[in-house]
Each structure stands twice: as structure tokens, then as C-alpha cells.
């Protein structure tokens, strides 16, 4: 088990390092970053001064090393636009995004798992067809459109929920639904497939044969085993959700990290963009690492892989 964890940890670190190189090199995709900061009115002298000030005149590997080592020390540079340390900015904004992410995945699990279980117990029933329809429609639904429809119906027409902002719990209802709906189809399909698989296994037949009550068979014997892959999928989806939060936060004007990403991209604030790509990737890497470890712990067969 320890060996498995160490191996996965090494891989995760290597992936993180590669992602850091990619997000660092993004700065130079635009050509001359100094000219970009200076803007259209800057003279050649200004640009040269900016270049020296920000250290763009040094060799790239040196700049990368400098960036990485200060990033590791928690210093992600200063935002061009907000004139604040990027790390402070991100930590500040991440709270909303994390809250939204946790609400979203909870919503997705609470709706998708029961639906998946019922669909598996009664294949081809009305519920099964409804679940299938919801998952097919969910995958085709543009999340920004879904969000706007919710605003039109529940905020404008019915006036039940506030359309944007973060002032109260009610403000999080629609964003949670939109973000959670994103992860629902995959979780539901996996729950249904897992349950169907487990329900046809020998130990379920044994449990039924020895006269165990149906509820006990379903929840104690079947769901427990079917849920293992769902747990790791949920962790991975949580990582994906951070990316989805950009769209959701911009629709509902939640000033979280996703909104920050959109703002800083629109304003050409590259240090913030770089740092956000790195932070979002790290979250994904941590979540997948945790899901691997969790999986190996729950299911010893996985440790060999």
C-alpha cells in the first residue's frame, strides 16, 4: 500500500511539474510580455525598463526556476491589474469556488446515486428511462444556457431566487444546480452500471438465498460495492468542476476563483492567469491522487495496477 502511494505521489509530482512548465510558457506565447504590460502607448525605452523591472531580460530557464521557487514559497507574483499579490487574491477568491464545488458535487451525488440505484433495480422502468433521458439531455445541455434559463424562470418570472451575487445561501441554489448537473450524468451512469453488475453477482444470489431482507441485500451488500468506483469518479469530477466554475461564476456573478480567471484573462493579467492554471491543475492532481489512494484502500485489487 505504501509503495502504491509513493508511486502515485511521484507521478502526481511529475505531472504537476510539467503543468507548471506549460503554464509558465503561456506567458511567452503572446510574444513580448513587456510590450503587453506597457500597452499601446509605451515607448521603446518604457518597454525596455519594464523588461528589466520584471526580469524578462534573463534566460528562460532562469526565469522559470525563479518563478517556480517563489511559487513553492507561496509567492505567485503580483497581479498586473489588481496590483495585489496573486496568492492573496486567489486564496481570497477560492473560498467561494470551494464552497460552490462542495455544494455542486453534493447535489450531484444526492440526485445521481439514488436515480442510478433505482434505475438499476428496475431496468427499463419509467424511472430508468427518465434517468437515461436526464443523463443524455444533461450531456447536451450548454451549462451557460441552462444557467440563464434558471435565471429567467426562477429569478425573473417567479422571483423566488436572487439572480446573482453571494449574499445568502439562496444565492448559491441556482449555481449549485448548474454546476452539479454537469457532473450528474457520469455519476448516474456509473452507479447504474455498477449496481447492475453487482446485482447479478454470486454473493448477491447467496445473500438472497440465505433469506436476507431485500433492503439489506440492496444497501449493505450491493450498493457498498457498487459505490466504490463512484467515489473516485466524484473526486475526479470535483477537479473538473473547478474548470466548470468559470462559466457558472460568470453567469451568476459569484466572485470566486473562476470569475477571477475570466476577469484576469479578459484584462490580460498574465501572472494571475498562470497562477490560476497552476492552482486549478494542482487541485485536479490532488483530487485524482486522493481518489487513487481511496480506491486502493477500498478495493485491494486496485493496488496491483
Amino acid at each position: 500500500m505504501l509503495q502504491f502511494i509513493l508511486k502515485r505521489l511521484g507521478l502526481a509530482l511529475l505531472v504537476a511539474l510539467t503543468v507548471s512548465i506549460i503554464s509558465f510558457s503561456l506567458l511567452f506565447l503572446s510574444g513580448d510580455p513587456a510590450a503587453a504590460i506597457g500597452g499601446e502607448t509605451a515607448t521603446d525605452q518604457d518597454i525596455e525598463a519594464i523588461r528589466v523591472l520584471y526580469g524578462f531580460d534573463r534566460p528562460l530557464p532562469v526565469q522559470y526556476w525563479d518563478w517556480l521557487s517563489s511559487a513553492l514559497a507561496g509567492d505567485l507574483g503580483e497581479s498586473y491589474y489588481f496590483k495585489l499579490p496573486v496568492a492573496t487574491l486567489i486564496v481570497d477568491r477560492l473560498q467561494i469556488t470551494m464552497l460552490l464545488g462542495v455544494c455542486g458535487i453534493t447535489f450531484a451525488l444526492l440526485t445521481a446515486v439514488p436515480l442510478g440505484v433505482v434505475a438499476a433495480i428496475r431496468p427499463n422502468s419509467f424511472i430508468d428511462r427518465l434517468a437515461l433521458f436526464l443523463s443524455v439531455a444533461g450531456q447536451a445541455m450548454p451549462s451557460f444556457w441552462f444557467g440563464l434559463i434558471l435565471i429567467v424562470v426562477f429569478a425573473i418570472q417567479l422571483g423566488w431566487l436572487p439572480p446573482s451575487g453571494t449574499a445568502s445561501a439562496a444565492h448559491f441554489v441556482m449555481p449549485t444546480i448548474v454546476l452539479g448537473y454537469y457532473a450528474m450524468p457520469a455519476i448516474m451512469r456509473l452507479t447504474r452500471a455498477g449496481m447492475l453488475d453487482v446485482l447479478s453477482s454470486d454473493y448477491i444470489r447467496t445473500a438472497r438465498a440465505k433469506g436476507a431482507p431485500e433492503g439489506r441485500v440492496l444497501f449493505k451488500h450491493a450498493l457498498r460495492n457498487a459505490i466504490i468506483p463512484v467515489v473516485s469518479l466524484a473526486a475526479v469530477q470535483m477537479g473538473f468542476m473547478l474548470g466548470g466554475s468559470i462559466v457558472v461564476e460568470s453567469i451568476f456573478a459569484l466572485h470566486g476563483a473562476g470569475y477571477l480567471a475570466w476577469e484576469s484573462i479578459a484584462r490580460n493579467d498574465l501572472p494571475t492567469v498562470q497562477a490560476l492554471i497552476l492552482v486549478f491543475s494542482l487541485f485536479y492532481i490532488i483530487f485524482t491522487f486522493l481518489s487513487d489512494v481511496l480506491n486502493a484502500w477500498l478495493d485491494p485489487r486496485m493496488r496491483a495496477g
Partner: protein, 299 residues
């Protein structure tokens, strides 16, 4: 029912050919049929946009701004109304099909080439090649697609070409994953060993022994990634960092309609609904193709 048809041996001889079976599965699959018909219609709309569109999608008419669609009391001159610049909504929707389908097709083609090459190489050669490809897939999955695509498009400037290339370069992960596992399943088969035994070159084995046997999986992933690319383009354009105005992109239309959403919700509902239908059709077709060609369905 005579004795002849119940005789299993005879039924085997006179039974339907694999091609007939395949056709029977295709025409027996509702989702696949619906998806294919809707997609075909939308492709036709995109191809014949200049003939079908009642107006020039770029022509502004500030005297006829924000006219409602016919079913909300508008006139037949603009069946789906006009936008905030007085451009005909139906014509912009029709031309928007071109943008979505073009982006979906070419982005899926680019990512398909990259992902298939990587996946097949990893599956066939194994060892170090496999380790490198698996690592690259991990790196790619760790990068937030929306964020990276937004950033790169913002830096390179939003245009149709940039959006297509960026999406094409980002969406190869599923191709690589699926092609790798499909190749792994096929490479141990007798016909591959036979081809190797008679001295076929590696490229020839890959192209004429491996590829034809995994191409059904490839087609399924192509449809999924097409849908994915179309949705992403719409999201990027919606956020103002994808295809730029005045190009008629459905995502952009939703974004432009958003400001008028309070009074004219149809401006948001219509382009989003068309986008939903297109993606749904592609997904239904993809799911259907997987059901129809899945090996476990072959009796």
C-alpha cells in the same frame, strides 16, 4: 413455420449475413436514427445557408431592432425576430450552424489525428512509448480545458481559426485513452501475429490490421468530441473570448441576448435550444453507434 427454419444448422447456413445484421441493428435503434436524421438536416441547413437564409446575417437595420418572433406577435418578414442591431435572427441561426459544425468537425479531426496516433502507438508498442503517452494524457487531463482555451484564445486573438486549432490541440485525451485500450485488445490477436509472421512492415500492420478493427471505437469518440468541441466553442464565445462578433456563433448570440434577457427571453432561449438540439443529435448518434457496433452485441 416449417421444420426447415427451426433447424439450427440450416438457420445458420441461410441466416442473415453480418451486413444484414448490422443494417437490422442500425434501423432498429431509435436513438441512432433520430440523431442521424436531425444531424443530417442541420448539416444540410449549414451547407445551403445562403439559399435558406431569408436575409443577410450581417445586415443591420437599426429601424427594425429587437422585433419579436412570429409566435410572439412578430411579422413573417423576420420569422424569429431581429437582434439588438436589427439583424434577422433566423438568418444568423442558419449561418451559426456553419460555425458550430465547422468547429466541431475540424477540431475533432485535429484532436482525432493526434490522439489516435498517440493511443495506437502506446497500445501497440507498449513499454516506454506507453509510459510517455500515459504520462502526457495525465498532464493533459490535469489542465483545466476551459481556462487554458480561454487564456490561449485571449492571447492569440479570437478568430475561428484560433478557436478551432486550440480546441483541436486540447481535446485529444479521450482519443488517446480509447485508442490505446482498443489497440491493446487487438494487438494480441492471431491475424496480427500472422501479418507479423509473413513479414509485414509495422506501418502496414498498424494501418491494415489494427486500424480497421478499432475504427468503430474511433467513430464513437469522434462524435463525442465533436459535441464537446461545439459546446466548448459556444461557452468560449459566450464568455466573449471565442469567435468574435459579428460572426454568427450560437454561443455569441446567447451572450448578446443575455443583456436583453429581462424583457426578451426568447433571444437567449432560441440559440441555446438549437445548440442543445445539435449536441443532443450528435450524442444520440454516438451512443447509437456504440450500441450498434459494440462487440458484445454481436451474437
Amino acid at each position: 413455420m416449417s421444420d426447415m427454419t427451426t433447424d439450427p444448422l440450416l438457420a445458420q447456413i441461410t441466416g442473415p449475413t453480418p451486413g444484414q445484421l448490422l443494417r437490422r441493428r442500425i434501423f432498429g435503434h431509435q436513438g441512432l436514427l433520430i440523431g442521424a436524421v436531425v444531424l443530417a438536416l442541420l448539416v444540410l441547413v449549414a451547407l445551403f445557408a445562403p439559399v435558406l437564409a431569408p436575409h443577410d446575417p450581417y445586415a443591420q437595420n437599426l429601424l427594425e431592432r429587437m422585433q419579436p418572433p412570429v409566435f410572439l406577435g412578430g411579422t413573417w418578414n423576420h420569422p424569429l425576430g431581429t437582434d439588438h442591431l436589427g439583424r434577422d435572427y433566423l438568418s444568423r441561426l442558419i449561418y451559426g450552424a456553419r460555425v458550430s459544425l465547422l468547429i466541431g468537425t475540424i477540431a475533432a479531426l485535429i484532436s482525432g489525428l493526434i490522439g489516435t496516433a498517440m493511443g495506437v502507438a502506446a497500445g501497440y508498442f507498449g513499454g516506454r512509448v506507453d509510459a510517455v503517452v500515459t504520462f502526457l494524457i495525465n498532464v493533459r487531463l490535469a489542465m483545466p480545458v476551459v481556462l487554458v482555451a480561454l487564456a490561449v484564445v485571449a492571447i492569440m486573438g479570437g478568430s475561428l481559426q484560433v478557436v478551432i486549432v486550440v480546441l483541436g490541440l486540447l481535446l485529444w485525451d479521450r482519443f488517446a485513452v480509447v485508442m490505446r485500450s482498443s489497440t491493446l485488445q487487438v494487438r494480441g490477436r492471431e491475424y496480427v501475429a500472422a501479418a507479423r509472421a509473413v513479414g509485414c512492415s509495422t506501418p502496414r500492420i498498424l494501418l491494415s490490421e489494427i486500424m480497421p478493427n478499432i475504427v468503430n471505437n474511433l467513430i464513437v469518440v469522434v462524435t463525442l468530441e465533436m459535441a464537446h468541441a461545439i459546446l466548448l466553442e459556444a461557452a468560449l464565445s459566450f464568455l466573449g473570448l471565442g469567435v468574435q462578433p459579428p460572426t454568427p456563433s450560437w454561443g455569441l448570440m446567447v451572450s448578446e441576448g443575455k443583456n436583453m434577457m429581462l424583457f426578451e427571453p426568447w433571444m437567449v432561449l432560441i440559440p441555446g435550444a438549437v445548440l442543445f438540439v445539435l449536441v443532443l443529435a450528435i450524442n444520440l448518434m454516438g451512443d447509437g453507434l456504440r450500441d450498434v457496433t459494440a462487440p458484445e452485441n454481436r451474437s
